[in-house]
Subunit: 82 residues, 2 copies
Amino acid sequence: MTKVRIFVTYKQSVFDPQGETITEAVHSLGHNEVKEIKVGKFFDVTIDSREKEVGESVKEISEQLLVNFNLETYRYEIMEED
Amino acid sequence: MTKVRIFVTYKQSVFDPQGETITEAVHSLGHNEVKEIKVGKFFDVTIDSREKEVGESVKEISEQLLVNFNLETYRYEIMEED
């Protein structure tokens, strides 16, 4: 089994309203040391690499389901392999 | 400026309905190589470490705002430091 973490973030050019709101909330709590907060999501995916090559599987599920390519981009990291 | 990534996940004991639903959707697309998907969110936080110690800042904003300790847990990684 291989565990990968797929990170999905807004593209640079896309406004992140949730991040903006959280930054404001953090400032209102007095944390002026915080300059920016951006929000993203991640998916921890366990893949049986005997059934399919991991990179190919990640690419397919990202394109078919996990990522909205109009607004978002993704990258992934192998977390565990055996 | 220091950039940290704060990862927020459900505790082990807490059911992750979104992850379960996505796993089912991925299976219905024929990806039987995928055994499990768990969902989490992350916050990329830029902190001015001259104003406050980074670990302390992360702990405070996590406790005060970002993490629901009833259901969730967090860890963080330093991404960039200067």
